[in-house]
Symmetry: D3
């Protein structure tokens, strides 16, 4: 079956989809309608359910699966779905949530092997043990959660995929700058966003938890490093420096780090995080633009709109 | 014996003093000299030791007691001490460090009673138990450390004195705004700067520890609240909210809080902290100015210089 | 009769209300409608009058009383009123504007007594006479005007209520910090926002006057202090310092004060103003949120949304 | 006699000079010396009086005339005066302060005629009367004071000269943009900096008064316009708009204007003020640089250093 | 025939107009419509074409001429046009684009004479030859293009009109400040915005070209000065300084100039550019406001709204 | 012979050195002295020549070779050289400037091969030809100049070494993100700082040229790309995009780029530039710190001071 991202204006849709978000509006004539963001593995689309009932509001909430019939229209250059029929999925439909969500291009097992291999390469025993213990504690969520609610790697297993990309990047960079301490760098990469498994509500249709809102993933993880080190009987400067790497990885106070990077590997961790996240955002935006066109405005890139040259010979790869 | 703060230009000094800081300079003719900040209970003075030897550099380091002879001169309106003789204190001198340091106007016991009394008024058992346990863990240092290295309450027991002042202020304010949750407010005040006992090196001539520089007192304390709660078997929203109050008490990212206050009592905690700290800074600066004059520039008050009106009838009180 | 703030979705309204603001819109089909903010003593509600006529536009302007029939609907979690019938109030209705506006929880007489008492406590004759003369000049408006058009104390007598709260707060704080000059502080509090009686158009449905827009309440009051002092034959440093306290009470240039506070009591005036205003905003926002929920975004608090803990035992009080 | 600005390294000086400022220093060997800024009509020079006595400190204070002997040396490309002999001027010396100060290139009478002529061209009677009355009140000081303590027009009669230049500029600009209201523009120019006569201490060696520091020349003048209008029985919108023009002439809060220009002529007033002040600063800095060189850093021009092209055919004129 | 700017609510329109921009919307009921900005020589109006077809979207694109029938309505105080009939202009209509666009108040020939005269006054041969050569290269576009897409002089020949106004202004200012090098100033004015002929797509309904977006008119012109100088065999400091004047004419990095003005005439060029542009914006906004009213918010003037005094005797002139 | 970086306090020096900078001072007793920065291949040292003569000032200017005798002293933890004898180098000394300057760790030939190889890998003929032509034009200077006057790669051939490091980095990154257009990236890296050969005065003791100060290396190179493309007959989008990559490589206006990166490879170019420059700065600062210590403050890293962990097993490599 064709994915939701691949329809064109005027086509008919009859499709299983997952509700990503739902909000109620009133027409200028005062009638209620629902705006649903609906997704499958290929992407998402904004759907309009006109003349919605209170029952509709109650049923079609985030993270529920639905069967939808409708027409594709366009608005401001984007596809929209005019919903003509919608119902909740039942057990008879035999559709699983995993069929309806985007996920990382690598399998969980592949990524687990990769991360395990990098941990194995960490020689400093204190650093290795802390990293291993924390990964073990959060292993399931770590390989399922997205890296963010929006902007970059915001899909199932996005967090782990982002970490694996950064680890590969770190290995390449450390090959060119041999003074880099790869123990610190690999451990810092694996731990830097692990607090997201507490900050976010789940792997799909994620929102922020109370701890996420009041403390944030950085403080959450800085805490856990201290706690875990104590539990497994590790102390010494390595603990403080790992905490510092997580604490400072957003680089500036106004971006969420109360201390700037004060250790070389912390600075590099920040730069690699930034490089991989921006590459992901740019590739996905450029994929949707034709050669010779500009992308839509990218909020997380200071609202820039990027140009896709006409002469490029290679296609952006997701 | 007259305190070091009370000498005038031209007088002779023969005095026990504590070295607060020491730095080496070269005269424009290329000769070494030491600039020592020397203190007793009444204040401190900059001393110059001309033609200093390597042995002098080695001996007169921060937190050592010395016997000094010299003359008072003035420079840019401030007293200076031209050191003619200086030696380390020996056991024969029978002088104790406590005799040479400024400290809070209340005794440790008085402040301990006060803080204990406020903890007793906390009704929520989770909040009370966490606060009590943390105070117990750090009790000695908490009642001895300064509140800061400079700017406000930077003397022995300054931290506890700042906390007691804020608790009294909180009680007064809560009397006028009955919606305030005094459990949260009292606990937040007691814990907000407790991380300073780890951030700073000691009660006198304090500098920053490695943990202080790489993590900061806010992150340190946010960690300890989680750890202590776990140790004493407390969980629930109270833990997260106490962590949040400490995390947010500097109010803005650029002032060191990765999250702004998102709970009413956290906002009020920030305001009372600010009020008490500024009052302390302003009183001490105005005390040194005569009516009709401006104070020196106050770095921590955006470099302002304050005016002391001529008509005031009350004297600033320290 | 039930207040407008206490209706639920689906209920019928038949109610006297005061028009707070009115603006015309066009439906996407090109038809005119009016959006009216309508209030009584309990709060306000957005009303939609569909298919409005030019006569409607002409009649239902700010500060007029109307009789309204309609249904309560909801939109984005807020109540809306779909107006089915609306007419101007006539003398037969026997309804007074005072019945339809929110006002301070204390009576004008109580507040007048309070302020008079505080003026009586001012010992410096120059400060007392200026304060008394200015209060006398603006007495009626001072006890009727709101403290602001929006954000805090934006109701009848809000200005005086804000001043009384600050005076009580100042008395408490001065009890703990005896170096504070209460003469300056009380006078500064009474005068700091008095220019609002010229900056704003009236006690209800207030907007900005030309002087308000071109000069602002701070400059207006700084002028009046000089003028009044001259009229009653007072001169000396007290005049300049009172002017300075008003001039600097917003603390920073970008908040409207061309000079920062350079006198201790001016700094404290700013802080108490801030504390009382924020307490008012926070209490009112939290009152509308349930325990465990976040408030709506609060523009005047840097767009924060505040959390109301689940465990609180006390209710916010307005 | 050659002016102090025209000596070269190695020459002997024997000269009457005015002390502009005086500050005490200590050599690195601990000996006191005075740094005096000394001026005559051609400019100023930094003088060093080594081994100064307390009597010297007492005598050689700002705004006193002295007779000085010494040698010209250079330091960082600037002349310095090594003082070998210095004494106070006595009545026998027959030297007047006016002989030792820089002043505007036009005489007071010429400038008075010019300003009077422009006032005469103001047609609106309210605007004309207020302007005339204020000029009369401050006439002597207005034609003697500098426009600032430093940066631009900081010499005797600098304020009036700056005003006359701006008036001529305004006439030219209004000729090209006939919609400009010259009544407002001329009055605004004459009044915009008149508050300096209260903000500054005098015509020579000026410092800030208490009113200057606590209120500033803008607030001072905004007050006086209101007061004067009342005294001469003028009211109406003209008063508010003249106040607004003075209030807003620094254009931005962070530059001292609590309101930005909201009337066209207020915006133009700001621009002409800026243009004349910068032209004065740039001309004087470039005059000291040779073609092909850069000037010293100019603090009031964002610390820029300006280039003087090699090919220019015209010399900068002061 | 009455111009489109002069209709009132309720009147019928039957008019030739030029499409300035076109965008598609959806009604809240999901039906497509077009919002067209339509202009003639007197101004522009927003038109709504309800129930638009794909053919309409295809036909009514920017820079096409149309014949329109409809009614004038109002929304938020602005006229709107409800389109009842619209068709493309054909050759039978005998209407030219020049009849439908606003243009500068001076003819191209008059402006060409003026600019030529100023070039003739440039005495330095290098500066004169470069300016002349560049004007020749871009002569047609230079006298046809607008000075900007919006905000100021955004009409046919707006660029040349802006340049002529600035040249007249420069002549007046240089008369008062004789140290100004008019060769540099006149050349800088003529060249400063000439890059717009490459940055923008055309004289009417202009948008940004790829070079405009990726390089900007400043870099484009800095390049062309170097290239042209080489072509005509001119070198020396004059080339670098002309490049610098164009490079720095926006004054600050955040306004598009990588270097601030470092030559006096560059600073004055910036100020005159600013003065003429703001005068144009202010006059046009004030023309639409009645005495005693405020204008709409002006984005390019920091979102200010300007007051038009009641007492003014002169009308704003465009 | 031991390099100047390897002496300790108290040792005697008798050494050939190159003058990097020279400035005159006055002792507080009024006597002239010279402060010389003197270098050899191992680093530089500040030397003091007391009681200097006008002849000394004339002789010991930047980029001259000298023979120096003196003693090593220390000041604020840094070595200083007290000069006892100094003379200019003559032909008899048989010392070459190349013996006294730091230079890149790779030879010019090695780097030339590397860059040539990368150009060879560029497949797009337009991009390759422009890059090749520009390298040929500036080849000698390109392989000799430093990358900057201070902060990073500020030694002979530093520019080419920085480019080679970035090319290697780009190859590694492009291997992991196959959507990157290596043609653009390699060309952008080779050209991004090539304008420095015009901005700076030479390979050693470099200062800024007039073009450097008034235009900057970015504008200079953007010009040259256009010019060179025209000369070799290349046009098309490639030219504009290469210009854009150079123009935007500082990323933000306040860092010198009038346009932000709007092409993916331009963004990546900025990030790799930043990564290589910071790595160079950090490695060199950490090399001078002992494990467990902090470095001196690093101006170009926001004034941070970096910590060198105690447990690191690898040494920083230059």
């Amino acid at each position: 079956m064709k994915g939701i991202a691949h329809y064109n204006e005027g086509e008919q849709v009859n499709h299983y989809l997952l509700v990503k978000s739902s909000s109620k509006g009133l027409t200028s004539g005062g009638k209620p309608f629902l705006t649903l963001i609906l997704q499958d593995q290929t992407g998402d689309i904004e759907g309009k359910l006109w003349d919605s009932s209170p029952q509709d509001e109650h049923d079609f909430i985030p993270d529920t699966m639905v069967k939808v019939e409708g027409d594709i229209t366009t608005f401001r250059g984007k596809n929209q779905l005019r919903i003509k029929g919608i119902r909740l999925v039942t057990s008879n439909d035999q559709v699983k949530k995993a069929d309806l969500v985007m996920s990382a291009p690598l399998s969980v097992n592949t990524m687990l092997d990769k991360v395990t291999q990098y941990i194995f390469e960490i020689k400093n025993p204190a650093i290795q043990r802390i990293t291993r213990a924390l990964l073990k504690k959060h292993q399931d969520a770590f390989f399922e959660f997205p890296a963010a609610v929006r902007n970059h790697h915001e899909y199932v297993s996005g967090l782990a995929y982002h970490v694996v990309s950064m680890l590969n990047l770190a290995k390449g960079v450390a090959g060119l700058y041999p003074s880099l301490d790869t123990d610190l760098l690999y451990a810092g990469i694996i731990l830097h966003d692990m607090g997201k498994v507490t900050e976010l509500s789940g792997a799909t249709a994620a929102s922020y938890t109370l701890e996420g809102k009041l403390l944030g993933h950085i403080s959450i993880m800085v805490n856990e490093i201290a706690e875990t080190a104590k539990e497994i009987g590790v102390d010494g400067e390595e603990v403080v420096i790992l905490q510092h790497m997580v604490l400072s990885h957003h680089s500036k106070p106004e971006w969420g780090s109360p201390k700037p990077p004060l250790v070389k590997e912390a600075e590099i961790l920040h730069m690699l995080d930034n490089l991989d996240a921006k590459m992901n955002m740019m590739d996905r935006a450029l994929e949707k633009a034709k050669p010779g066109d500009f992308t839509e405005r990218l909020f997380a890139l200071d609202n820039r709109t990027l140009y896709r040259p006409q002469f490029e010979s290679k296609l952006p790869v997701e």
